[in-house]
Symmetry: C2
Subunit: 760 residues, 2 copies
């Protein structure tokens, strides 16, 4: 790549990028007009419901559906026997990657139920009441097995074994016996012993996080209409209609193109909607019933059967010189995968030291299956967990050395030209700028009161590119449609319209962004990995550029001049030919009206694999007050600086940062999966699973550091995931300084904080 | 154009084109799974209904909606006051062309109701019962005016005047007074007086046809969801989602791109769904109510308020030599337009003599407004009417001269190089071949019994090209989607998939054809004019060719050979490089699996204005038996030969021919609008408006004459309209020969036939 460096970014000449128009889907969403997953309906539609295991681990001896089938109004019942018994096969599709056998068995238990809530059968009936009655008439004969949920207990010899076929990957020696440890991964550099030997101080810590759920407002929901010899259709809420199409095709043995998936609006996903749960069941039920089937999860089902992220145990050992230079780091990460392999321990490992230029390190990760719901991606998967550990340890190091925590980070900061701990060499990053922005912010010097503390932490996320498609269609009146294949989870309709408007020279109100179904646009990787504004935005920009080239060609033909003599300015072709001086510009609307006679409709489509996403760095500062009576932690003030490339729509970049911080605060303070002795989730509802609400949070101030990404036409990079990485540690570090006790186990809920104060 | 002549067409090498696979939408349609216009639903949807004028002509003095608005459950009421009062403006969009003021006033009467059934108000309510009650609570104060429906009565001086602003277009002198005659058109050649002077015989006749309806099974239906600041949506049954978008945008004053129109399956259109009736009303109601609105017409409304085609009076005067050479022809056509200008008298005039090489002629057409529903396009608009007159006259000429009716046509037939009566010079036509095919068919020599007769007639239709868009998306598993913007009215999904499959080298089952919404594909002119297989098929073929070029480029890159050394054979890239002999082919599926690393998703989109549609000719032979007791005419046998270019899917070409003949037979024998003395339609239902059913018809034999169209990549031309042109005369000529009386007024219903026999 060329090392174009553009700091500060050249905004000159941009008319739309960087402004803050109202989002095109805003009114729909605030007025209730937007159609979410549960809002679709088809004539003759049935209601589908899932029967779920009440046991955390049990052999399924038999399933008797006869009484349920005999019930009037029951139109279909499916179990694992109704799906192909797939072989183990890794399917790579970005954050939608999955082992197809595991995915199939997570959608419908085969032989064993592996967690409380695991689907064992599904019914379709003429009403919800009949479907519920049918569920109760299905008899499942279980042999209950011992279960294990704690990650370290699951790793221990003699632990109840989830999968007889699971042998640990990534060990030096071939394992002789199956294990709950699915895989070991390692990253190393330099000589660890030498590094610690060079250290003046060595610190060790053990950090524990709880499993937490993405907590999207909208439960999973879909409508499926199977057509054995036609076009099966699925409407669903997901982060990727093509992901849904692929997985349904694989799990049901169909051609991808024989399934048409239309994305609904999505009421939050945060990574949790990068896989399928209901869609294959609804299709299988629809196939059997010969009618469309609608399925909507309850909140209880969302908690018990869809992916939280891992609970984890992370140990960190840091060695540093007395002036704060890190000489060695050793990090070990043990992540719950839930019932099937695939925790985010690999990205957790890769990001653990990504902010630091450390000469000697070893990072070891363990992916461990447990009798809990299979984890799904959750915003910067794995990174908040490892950052909680490493940033808590860094804070301890700063305290021990008596060094300002920001100065400590700056001293060890990665910069352009430094080789990242996970491999590549950084270019065009804005990390140090985020540190400086917080250091120089009034917040950093503001006085604190009694029982108050200020915590600082940093975070990193890769961001990704990948496959995206976009089309731009100019209407006959000169308005335009921008079509992409990525669900809009955070304002991407606005940014897509803005990028197209910028190129076309149209007011953004004349550009209508559309999220199309899988039949109507080229393949697009799902919305995840903070890729959409970058990768799909690149496709949109290129498609708009093709439109402009086409419009210039048409204008040149109308004027009978070489196309080199036509420029495109402010939404109109301008004739530069001196021999034709004085010709009025040909506007886009004017050219659109003449399109039939100048080559036909004005359209362009681009499909690409975007590269050069550019990583994101975040530096967060958090003030808390701890109530010594109750242990309750109040967030007083929060400031987040982030390297955002260039903000296409600054308000939605700020919104991403605020949202990530809010979720990180919930993770830090209150959220956790609580299981009873039988491994059943005890708090599967928003009353007992405590997420932060608006009244729990102050206004979160976002500082946008714009170091343009040279690989994107407008300098954009992903911004959605980095902001959830620092808050766990930023909050914990603030509590540490407020109560003078290092708490290492999340969540920092009132009883635990009160206990820590008492033990002080 | 190059005069590529390809007769018979070179079929060698084609593997998919010309075969008869099951249509992709077939199972959906026969099992009831296909979703038609009335099958959509949205949460919170209201029911919209229309209040219609009970008077054929009346001034609207006032509309009082207060009592209706006060009714619980009524959410919106609109009248003309809720729509912009548009100025007269002709909007050109193929068969969807319209004067926007007239279109607006046809959707909702402004000032005057111009026909029985004319919409005067519309309501949206929470249920159909409430909506009906609301309609009855709306009080309209009318001043009933004299009305006129008969076309010649409407032309007469002193006739009740529909429009004070209407002055006849196309006259030599500027008219001084308004008139019901909207326009006069004329086509002439040679010297008429000289031509008649050279004739040995001169015949004159006057022919009358009744207004008939397209008779599609599915009534007009739509759901509209207005979004004042977002994306308004319309789901409707139409022949063109872009036509619906354009007209709704124009009638409501919106950006075209702010309306997204999704086409439903269409249960027949035949030209009658090339305009809007309900969609603008539903959008206006939805705007006022703030909720989606569904509107579905009753059959009564379809008859009373949507377009039939013209009732007409046509006079024909022919001069010929005794050996059958036509020396002169004079044709005058008077067509009802219904309440607003725009009958199909222009195409009726242009096609009147299109089959004949006549040295001297004058064709005069009159477009006349009447107090009846505004006519809409109906399959080969205008041509069956003029063909009924001209072909009846030709039959009389054959009888008078004692010449075989086919020989008479052949003697005067247009051929390649002949200048058509309507202007251009014919190239690559297969007209004479259709005459020869009927002449040589066993049917032509088969014996006839008592009260039986055999009629022959020919017909012509232009076929059109125009703007089409298509995209081809290759899925990650190597299956493909073909996306177009044209509703499938006659099997076009099958032909689109077949053309793409032929180019890609895929089995047709791996190609899924999709009809996309207006946001998801480039502009496409509506499905009409027999344009889709030709024009959209051209776009599909070109898009598939772009895919193949892309795949060859990717294969060349994988093999590291020049792209010139890669061929595409049977769905796989083949390496022709002698230095790399033995490399296995790279299949489409294999290349698709590697697409992310070879440039991204595999997609191509093409938008074009197709030219060179190639006209269609049809020659029909019909045997009838007339029951002398009842006057009932039974169709005994029917054979239709047609110049079809090349049949992509022969079964659906045959289906088009059979369908056109069936409709023509209905027009000939039974169908007619019957009005009472007050101008109210008396037979607005299928019990009283008698369309032919299966038991009325014999198997219709279709003979496909394949003279490849050199302007289409696979030689295709339009086939859907030509077959409705000859049947009116073919039936009438058969009756003439069965009963020895020339009947000149359609329909040839039993009472009229019985009366003709009695008067013999």
């Amino acid at each position: 790549m060329s090392d174009v460096i553009d700091r500060p970014p050249a905004r000159a000449g941009l008319k739309v990028i960087g402004t803050r128009p109202v989002r095109p889907d805003g009114a729909d969403k605030v007025t209730g007009r937007a159609a979410f997953g549960a809002d679709f309906a088809l004539p003759g539609m049935l209601v589908g419901k899932v029967k779920r295991s009440p046991h955390a681990h049990a052999r399924i001896l038999s399933i008797d559906t006869r009484r349920a089938r005999a019930l009037a109004g029951v139109k279909a019942i499916v179990t694992a026997a109704d799906f192909p018994d797939l072989a183990s096969e890794e399917y790579e599709a970005g954050e939608g990657a999955a082992n197809l056998r595991d995915l199939s068995q997570n959608c419908m238990a085969r032989g064993k139920a592996l967690y409380d809530g695991h689907a064992v059968a599904a019914v379709a009936a003429t009403s919800a009441a009949v479907a519920d009655a049918a569920l109760s008439l299905i008899t499942v004969d279980y042999e209950v097995l011992p279960h294990v949920i704690d990650v370290e207990a699951a790793m221990a010899p003699g632990a109840p074994l989830l999968h007889a076929h699971l042998f640990t990957q990534g060990l030096e020696e071939t394992p002789q016996a199956p294990s709950n440890i699915a895989a070991r991964n390692e990253l190393t550099r330099g000589d660890l012993a030498e590094g610690f030997a060079a250290a003046d101080v060595v610190l060790e810590g053990r950090y524990v996080t709880a499993a937490v759920h993405q907590g999207y407002i909208e439960p999973h929901a879909c409508v499926a209409a199977f057509a054995s010899d036609g076009q099966s259709q699925v409407w669903s809420s997901s982060q990727g209609q093509f992901m849904v199409r692929t997985f349904c095709a694989k799990l049901l043995g169909l051609n991808a193109s024989d399934i048409r998936v239309t994305p609904s609006e999505i009421g939050g996903g945060f990574g949790g909607k990068t896989t399928v749960y209901l869609e294959p069941l609804a299709l299988a039920l629809s196939r059997q019933a010969g009618a469309p089937v609608k399925m909507v999860m309850t909140r209880d089902e969302v908690f018990r059967a869809t992916g939280p992220t891992s609970g984890a145990v992370v140990t960190v050992k840091l060695g540093a010189t007395s002036d704060g230079r890190i000489t060695a780091a050793e990090v070990e990460l043990k992540y719950q995968a839930g019932a099937f392999p695939g925790s985010p321990v690999v990205p957790g490992s890769m990001t653990a030291l990504a902010c630091y230029d450390v000469p000697n390190f070893r990072i070891t990760g363990w992916d461990v299956v447990t009798n809990s719901p299979k984890v799904a991606a959750y915003r910067a998967p794995g990174a908040p967990i490892s950052a909680f550990a490493v940033e808590s340890a860094m804070d301890e190091l700063a305290l021990k050395l008596g060094i300002d925590p920001i100065a400590l980070r700056e001293k060890n900061a990665v910069r352009d030209g430094v080789k990242a701990a996970y491999g590549p060499t950084f270019r065009n990053i804005g990390y140090v700028e985020t540190l400086e922005a917080i250091r120089d912010h009034p917040h950093y010097q503001a006085p604190l009161g009694r029982n108050q503390g200020r915590g600082f932490a940093v975070g990193f996320w890769f961001n990704i590119g990948g496959e995206s498609s976009a089309a731009v269609h100019v209407g006959e009146d000169g308005s335009a449609t921008v079509v992409t294949g990525n669900p809009d989870v955070g304002g991407s309709r606005a940014s897509m319209a803005m990028m197209a408007a910028e190129v076309l020279g149209l007011p953004v109100e004349k550009v209508r962004p559309i999220v199309a179904d899988t039949a109507s646009i080229g393949f697009s990787m799902l919305t995840g990995g903070s890729r959409t504004t970058f990768a799909t935005g690149m496709a949109v920009t290129q498609a708009a550029q093709k439109i402009v080239a086409d419009l210039k060609r048409r204008a040149a033909s109308i004027w009978d001049v070489p196309v080199e003599n036509v420029d495109w300015l402010d939404g109109a072709a301008v004739c530069l030919d001196p021999a034709k001086a004085g010709l009025p510009p040909l506007t886009l609307a004017g050219l659109a009206a003449r399109s039939a006679k100048t080559g036909g409709p004005i359209t362009a489509e681009v499909s690409l694999t975007a590269q050069g996403a550019g990583p994101g760095f975040a530096a967060h500062l958090c003030d808390v007050e701890v109530d010594p009576e109750t242990g309750h932690v109040t967030i007083l003030r929060y400031t987040a600086a982030q390297d955002v490339g260039r903000a296409i729509h600054p308000a939605y970049v700020e919104g991403q940062i605020q949202g990530g911080v809010a979720q990180g605060i919930g993770w830090a303070l209150n959220e956790e999966y609580v299981f009873d002795a039988e491994g059943r989730m005890e708090n599967a509802g928003f009353l007992d699973y405590r997420m932060p609400v608006a009244s729990d949070l102050p206004m979160i101030e976002a500082i946008l550091i714009e170091v343009a990404n040279p690989r994107h036409p407008f300098g954009a990079k992903g911004v959605g995931e980095a902001p959830i990485v620092p808050p766990l540690a930023a909050v914990a570090n603030a509590v540490r300084r407020a109560i003078d006790v290092r708490m290492t186990e999340l969540p920092l809920s009132p009883p635990k904080v009160r206990a820590a104060i008492d033990a002080r």
